[in-house]
């Protein structure tokens, strides 16, 4: 039931009305023609109705706090409550983005510290925290690559190379930065086809965007040769941090030869996904791109022996690609990431890669032992791995989506399905380091059960889910007969 359907004209959360000041000037100074004539159709409900309505809606969600959520490439790890609590401290919430620096030293200190930590663990030379999500981090990175070539008056470089297994954001970003996209094939082991790459690079190559480990869940073993191939052609290397969790503390993107990267703090640094955002996608750069970093950035000076923090803007970084958000990005998310980074500290970073890799390899082995087909047998799993259900689809008529929907009935969120596109009927599974082996075992047991069900009663599996709040939804109807908002007329 929608909140509007609970509405009663005249009912209000009266305690939320502001106490106005004593005069009654009201709005008589605003010309009639600029005033709203009919009030907006919004719900009129009591405070308790609101709390109950949204509390009940929340219970119609899977979440990390309630379920194992092994979505590949999304890194659904535990989101520390302490991080949330500390970012919600009144002093942080109340600070206006344009508050004077003299009354912002606490916040700026956190941001400066976070920049330094991220720089160090990625092997980069500079970090800007401002991009508001991974896609904006990508945008910042590719825009910097363009600024670099433009500054050298190297205007011939019009192409960005992207492995065919890449996430769709990469090509979409390259186009937003004014580039053409050329796809590089991926071989049967999940590696970039080096011969094809060598064929593709040239004077028109602006750069290459890639993840490592790749979206195929395996480590790109030829990374150094890929880097030198692109660099020799005059291009730069972009590291998409989607899979940074797999190598955090073990390998620095800077040491693999990447010139620029983004980090998804909502993945690797444990900030909550919030039902689809907000995230944060800071960018890190090597020496060559330092002059182009997006603003603002936090700088530190020593004044009378005391650390003083201040914003760096275009006066300090004249060649910057500029600001990408109205203020400075998703500050509250950055505070949560800072909290997480400080709790892990020097000795904790590498454990992220180690235990996420341990969990993935353990789960992969258990799946293999249970008879599930691996997409890349013989390779190590990184923090994630792929199984393909194409034989189930072919022989039993139960496809990857059916399996996924049935899994919901067992109380597990489905892994990423049908991505990467080049593996048919696939599941991309990422357990993360914060899950215990018991949870992983439970998941594999559920898979074994569903396999059994598929063999015995395929129709039943194809009708899943059964114990969610709704059955499978008609998304064809949703797209053909668009119903994107409630309106008073339609209900009467």
């Amino acid at each position: 039931m929608l909140i509007y359907e609970k509405s009663q004209a005249g009912r209000r959360s009266i305690s939320q009305a502001p106490i106005t000041s004593t005069t009654n000037t009201k709005v008589s100074d605003i010309p009639e023609g600029l005033l709203r004539k009919k009030k907006a159709a919004l719900a009129e409900v009591s405070e308790m109705q609101v709390v109950r309505h949204y509390t009940n809606l929340s219970r119609r969600n899977f979440s990390i706090d309630t379920q194992f959520y092994p979505l590949g490439s999304c890194t659904m790890k535990y989101n520390p409550r302490g991080a949330h609590k500390s970012a919600m401290l009144p002093g942080f919430l109340g600070r206006h983005p344009l508050a004077p620096e003299s009354q912002s030293q606490g916040f700026l200190a956190c941001m400066y510290d976070l920049q330094e930590i991220l720089k160090e663990v990625t092997g980069m030379k500079g970090v800007s925290l401002t991009p508001m999500a991974g896609a904006q981090g990508e945008f910042a990175g590719v825009a910097m690559i363009r600024a670099y070539h433009d500054a050298r008056e190297d205007f011939e470089r019009t192409e960005i190379l992207i492995p065919s297994a890449a996430h769709g954001t990469n090509p979409a970003t390259a186009v937003m930065c004014g580039y053409k996209v050329r796809e590089i094939p991926v071989d049967k082991n999940g590696d970039v086809d080096l011969a094809a790459l060598k064929e593709a690079v040239g004077p028109e190559t602006a750069g290459l965007m890639m993840t490592n480990p790749s979206t195929c869940g395996v480590f790109e073993r030829s990374i150094k040769e890929i880097a030198s191939t692109v660099h020799e052609a005059g291009g730069l290397l972009y590291y998409d941090g989607a899979n940074l969790n797999a190598i955090l503390g073990k390998v620095c993107p800077g040491d693999m030869g990447f010139d620029v990267m983004h980090m998804n703090l909502h993945k690797t640094f444990a900030t909550p996904h919030g039902g689809g955002g907000p995230g944060a996608g800071p960018v890190g750069v090597g020496e060559r791109l330092l002059p182009y970093m997006p603003t603002p950035i936090v700088g530190k000076e020593s004044v009378d022996g005391k650390d003083v923090y201040r914003w760096l803007d275009e006066k300090d970084i004249p060649q910057t690609i500029g600001r990408l958000s109205t203020y400075m990005g998703n500050a509250g998310v950055l505070l949560r990431a800072y909290y997480y980074a400080r709790l892990l500290g020097r000795e904790g970073m590498h454990r992220v890669a180690e235990y996420s890799t341990l969990n993935a390899n353990y789960m992969m082995k258990r799946c293999e032992n249970a008879g599930f087909e691996l997409a890349y047998p013989g390779r190590r799993a990184t923090h994630e791995f792929i199984i393909t259900l194409s034989s189930q689809a072919k022989n039993l008529g139960v496809n990857a989506m059916d399996f996924a929907k049935r899994l919901l009935d067992y109380g597990y969120h489905a892994p990423t399905t049908y991505f990467p596109l080049l593996v048919p009927e696939c599941w991309l599974i990422e357990p993360t380091e914060t899950e215990s082996p018991d949870e992983l075992d439970g998941f594999v047991e559920a898979m074994i059960q569903i396999q059994k069900e598929s063999e015995e009663n395929a129709e039943m599996v194809k009708g899943a889910p059964y114990n969610q709040t709704v059955r499978r939804l008609d998304d064809v109807k949703a797209a053909r007969e668009l119903d994107l908002k409630w309106s008073p007329a339609q209900e009467s």
Binding site: K26, L42, H96, L98, V251, G332, Y362
Partner: protein, 452 residues
């Protein structure tokens, strides 16, 4: 080990299952020479120590009386909003790709879309963008795609629109060779007039952007500007403050046929100032150009038993399917903050929002009267405002603001930073959170700064 549950026995048993001797063996596909060294970062600390550090730092920035607006506004946020939003089921859920396991998030977005479309009187809304400034960039790109009659890659952008928005939008669209063309403003009214637009008549532009209220807090003649743009073959992009929409004509009703796209900063609807983010940008449009709208959209449908449910829809426009031909590279919406706004709007309702808007308007007018009673202080523009006002001081606004800050009053922003012609000008705002005592305290502090 923070957040890692494994016991030594767990690890041993898992390694045995995998068939390796150590965790390091699992990294044997990685070339040895690129494995990381030790990091020069602080050692890990406990929750207790960290909470103490964060509390100290947060406290250092507290206890100020804030009269800064400029696109981010201090409003009272009902206690219920973030209490409910902070439930783990909202906080720690992912993008609702598995619709059956995400009906909560999906229905909230559908309600959010309804709120925004009804507040703006537009046909449809998406599930939100990052923030207002980047939202304006997306709107400009959308207008260029949607205006089939225009071949132009140029958009008219009045200088009365936030310089931060203009800067952000420029940085995002410039790589696609799209030009945002400045339009000057009337120096008396602080608004954009037909006179200012005259020189562009007959030229091909994809759209005109109109902010209501504008960056100076001033109310534009949105009806005549909208009609002018439409008469000249341009689409109209409205940039609006959602709180103001409780009082002011919504974009869907501007002029003869309404704005085509409406965007804005959603922060005033239940989102704390929080140093500039996370906020959310909203974008709404007319039905006929919905396919050009970027970002996530939720639709209502039925399940296989005919029961109502909600799901992502129109996904073929988005990057995960359309790749290089997508409407945008955006993957997220600002789900959690958008959820906060949905709860905020439900708590206030249309009448509550009106009261908030009126109280802001009244406080700003009131403060304006108090401040201009001081010698040499005057309002810079003569048109009505919503809840912000530009003051011209007799001395440098930069130094006045610094001195006010010492008295822990954040008196506004120095406009000369963005507009060289507005020397000694301060943009301030007083929302419903300010009491009469707060306003008088500002007046007295300013009086003593000016007297010194």
């Amino acid at each position: 080990m923070p957040y890692i549950p494994h016991t030594d026995e767990d690890v041993k048993a898992m390694l045995d299952t995998i068939g390796v001797n150590s965790i390091d063996d699992l990294f044997d596909e990685i070339p040895k020479d690129i494995l990381a060294k030790n990091f020069d970062i602080p050692e890990g600390i406990s929750e207790m120590e960290m909470m103490r550090l964060m509390s100290e730092r947060a406290a250092a920035d507290s206890n100020v009386s804030c009269f800064i607006g400029a696109g981010a506004y201090e409003h009272h946020i009902p206690a219920a909003v973030w209490d409910v939003v902070s439930r783990g089921e909202f906080l720690t859920a992912y993008t609702p790709y598995q619709a059956e396991a995400s009906q909560g998030t999906l229905q909230v977005i559908y309600e959010y879309q309804t709120n925004m479309a009804n507040l703006t009187a537009m046909d449809v809304s998406n599930a939100s963008l990052y923030d207002g400034g980047s939202g304006m960039a997306e709107a400009a790109l959308m207008a260029i795609r949607a205006n089939k009659k225009s071949k132009s890659r140029k958009v008219l952008v009045p200088r009365t629109i936030s310089p931060l928005y203009r800067d952000t939008a420029h940085n995002i669209v410039t790589n696609q060779n799209i030009e945002l063309v400045d339009v000057n403003f009337d120096s008396e009214g602080g608004n954009t007039t037909l006179e200012n637009l005259k020189q562009y008549e007959g030229e091909d532009f994809a759209a005109l952007i109109i902010a209501q209220p504008n960056f100076f807090g001033v109310l534009e003649d949105v009806n005549e500007l909208t009609d002018w743009a439409h008469a000249n073959g341009m689409l109209v992009i409205a940039v609006v403050n959602p709180i103001s929409l409780a009082l002011l004509t919504p974009p869907g009703e501007w002029g003869e046929s309404g704005a085509d796209i409406a965007i804005g900063e959603g922060q005033p609807l239940g989102v704390p100032l929080s140093s500039g983010g996370p906020y959310f940008g909203f974008i709404c449009c007319k039905q006929k150009i919905v396919r050009q709208m970027p970002g996530r959209i939720i639709g209502r449908t039925v399940d296989m038993e005919g029961k109502e449910g909600f799901t992502l829809t129109l996904q073929a426009r988005e990057q995960h399917i359309r790749r290089s031909k997508a409407t945008s590279n955006i993957c997220t919406n600002q789900g959690l903050v958008m959820t906060a706004s949905t709860i905020y709007v439900a708590l206030l309702g249309a009448d509550g929002l009106s009261l908030v808007a009126e109280a802001c308007h009244e406080n700003t007018n009131q403060l304006s009267v108090l401040l201009t009673s001081l010698e040499g202080v005057e309002t810079a523009f003569n048109r009505p405002v919503f809840h912000e006002q530009v003051l011209r001081l007799p001395v440098s606004s930069e130094s006045v603001l610094e001195k006010l800050a010492e008295a822990r009053i954040q008196g506004g922003i120095d406009l000369s930073t963005y507009y060289p012609e507005l020397e000694n000008c301060v943009l301030f705002c007083a929302t419903e959170t300010k009491t009469n005592d707060d306003l008088v305290a500002y007046q007295q502090a300013l009086a003593s700064v000016l007297a010194s």
